[in-house]
Amino acid sequence: MNKPEVKKDKSMILQKEMIAKQFQDLATAKEKGKKIVYTFVPGNLSELIHAFDMIPVYPEINALQSGMRKKSGSFIKDAEKIGYSEDICTYVKCDIGMMLNGNIGPYGEKIPPPDLLLLSYTGCFTFMKWFENLERLYPGVPVVMIHTPYQEAGKITPEMVEYMVKQLRDDVIPAMEKVSGVKYNEDKLKQILSYARETQELIHQIFETPKNIPSPIDAYFAGVYYIGPINTGFRGTPEAVEYYKLLLEEINERIKLGLGPVTPEGEMSEEKFRLVVEGPPNWTSFREFWKLFYDMGAVIVASSYTKVGGLYDLGFRHNPEKPLESLAEYCMNCYTNFNLPQRIEILKKYITDFKADGFLIHSIKSCNSFSAGQLGMMRKIEHDLGIPVGFIESDLVDPRYFSYSNIKNRLESFFQMLSQRKMLVNQ
């Protein structure tokens, strides 16, 4: 018997249209004379790119999209054939493999080559190595680097901001002017930043809604869709503001009706477990992975991964009155640019504020930025809060590292532990 078709919310349809248009725009960019900027998601300078009428491309988004469409496995193998080790980040290999295969994007259109490689390396050292490799693959394409200082002392100092602003003024903006042929227009940037600010406020409100019981959304599996537009080129556009307004309205309606999250198989009926998750999801088996949770009645009420593009819950908003300073602070405000003690405090706050029953780490082979130190973080959180913790492992886009049975076994044990604990607490 066929399963009944799941009704899609308006916001889902809108987002799909936005993303499809984005890839169409990319495919026709060259003929329209638009310049293409390759850059990364964490700490991206989308607003600045838009201020020069250029179009951003995010290699890690292409990789995750390839993962979701089951294309990443062969791309990775092709990169390994030309010497890239099995041990390294699979996003990089997937991207290189995609390029070796004609740079055909997830929607079947060719991704145009870059006119500028903008390396805003925030929270991930491998980004730098990735771009060194891309620079060799696109010889002659100008590269501009903006170094984002790590919050090693647990704070952003005025000197750190000043360092970044100088890089923006002296290196990034002149490079963008040269490539785009457009003069830097601060008023235009301010307007874009005001849209960004509005978007940030809306997504902050969205990620606060899981404080309701039941949670109206899954802040991890659905959350990765929610962060799509804000992280990938729509931040700073009126379209993004419209999308997030619509999404928030829909979620508020669910709260009013006392409904739980929407899953790929429809509405979740009963919320049994509320979890906080640390680490990115697996993309190659995304649906199967999610199903392991909603089948057990587990809802993710907060996650660190959805904060890789910015921790708006800690108060950051772009400030149009101080555009460059604001861009600098944004770059430094991404989750993986926070030091480990800060990350622990953020996760502890989520566990407490969102009334979580358990804390789970999904550790990723490919991502040292997230993964290195996670076991120590887990111990500390368990020690400080006395909350049940779980640990599962897979990869971003290498299907060889997603072991369904292992993950299922571990999750089942974890959920059993949570059940026992709930029973004891209720007694």
Partner: protein, 390 residues
């Protein structure tokens, strides 16, 4: 016993002591002395020396520290060095070391600084975020502040604030140290058999645990000794070993490369000791500025430095030509993104320049040398038998 053997034995006792006894003894001689542990690759040790401190290299536990606790901190797909470092820390080997500086070379090292913070290991843990902007007024200013921050942290421990004179003096001593090291490499260029690579490694490594002036004397003696004939100029190929800038090769693995028929004429083992190519200005009113300027303008090529305007693979080929090398042995620690992402670029350039290469992965506690030795032996034979030795 010949003098050089004695020197090597003395250095070995210091270099491979994971209790850092020699450094701790030095510290115990005066109450205001401090020890600052620094992690690979580069750290300007001059600033610690000028604060009446000793910067000591933390290089992991290699194959002489059994990892028990570290595996509970690091997943199997993370390189080996942080787990042995955590084991050393939790087992008290770092007791007496006042602070730790982690250089920005990769995400694992960055996050290790956070693990140290969580466990309150040492009086301070500082992640030294080297700028990737090489303009004096931008990246230079940033690095200067980073170094001033470290000085402040040391001063907070021993109350000693270095003046211009003490900084200039420290720069002078380390300039001399580097010049002696380069001289040894140049002598080995002509006579690599006189001082084998594993012996040189031991001598350089010992320098990470003793006062620089003592190490300078050792190096002077080594130079004196290798002016004379020692060992036989046997029929081996000349190779550069590249990729081991952080997690160290087990010493027996270096020996295995040599036993497999190679003279290692250059390498990136303990690269931090030779990081600055040339002299740092040592008679200046702004010594910290001079250290920064040298970092921006005179750094050796390395995986941790953004290199778009001066590609590392081209510099590696230049080095191979300068050293008259017959080939390059690429080595990389398992799960090391920076090394493993560099190697395809470097291999491609070697191919373009008709330089033979071979590649293997290792970890600091690798115990099976035979397969690697056979692989390297076949590589050396292929050069010797089919291409002739230069």
């Amino acid at each position: 016993m010949e003098k050089l053997n004695q020197i090597i034995q003395t250095c070995a006792a210091i270099a491979y002591d994971i209790n850092y006894t020699y450094s701790k003894n030095w510290k115990s001689k005066s109450k205001d002395r401090v020890l600052v542990g620094h992690f690979p690759i580069y750290f300007p040790r001059e600033i610690v020396w000028a604060c009446n401190g000793l910067a000591i290299g933390i290089l992991g536990g290699n194959d002489y520290k059994e990892v028990v606790k570290g595996d509970a901190y690091y997943q199997s797909y993370i390189c080996h060095i942080p787990r042995s470092i955590i084991d050393l820390a939790l087992d008290g080997h770092f007791n007496g070391i006042d602070g730790f500086v982690f250089s920005s070379i990769c995400d694992v090292m960055r996050n290790l600084s956070g693990v140290f913070q969580i466990h309150n290991i040492g009086k301070f843990s500082k992640y030294l975020d080297y700028p990737q902007n090489f303009k004096k007024e931008i990246g230079g200013e940033f690095l200067k502040r980073e170094l001033e921050d470290i000085i402040q942290k040391i001063t907070a421990i021993n109350g000693i604030r270095p003046d211009i004179k003490s900084l200039n003096n420290a720069i002078k001593l380390y300039n001399y140290n580097r010049s002696l090291l380069f001289e040894i490499y140049d002598i080995r260029q002509k006579y690599p058999w006189r001082l084998e690579a594993h012996e040189l490694y031991t001598i350089i490594r010992a320098g990470l645990y003793m006062p620089v002036d003592e190490h300078n004397k050792i190096l002077e003696n080594v130079i004196e000794e290798i002016q004379k004939d020692r060992n036989q100029p046997v029929d081996k190929v000349r190779v550069i070993v590249w990729g081991a800038f952080c997690e160290q090769l087990p010493i027996n693995l270096i020996k295995s490369i040599e036993l497999a028929g190679c003279f290692v004429v250059d390498d990136d083992f303990l690269l931090g000791s030779r990081w600055i190519l040339g002299k740092i200005e040592d008679n200046t009113d702004d010594p910290l500025g001079a250290i920064v300027e040298a970092y921006l303008q005179k750094s050796i090529f390395s995986t941790s430095v953004y290199d778009v305007n001066n590609p590392k693979e081209k510099r590696l080929v230049e080095l191979a030509k300068k050293r008259n090398a017959d080939g390059v042995i690429f080595v990389a620690p398992s799960f090391c993104d920076p090394a493993l992402l560099d190697i395809p670029l470097c291999q491609k350039e070697c191919e373009k320049n008709n330089i033979r290469f071979v590649f293997f992965q290792y970890s600091e506690n690798t115990g099976q040398f035979k397969p690697i030795k056979e692989q390297i032996g076949a590589f050396a034979d292929s050069i010797k038998l089919w291409e002739g030795v230069s």
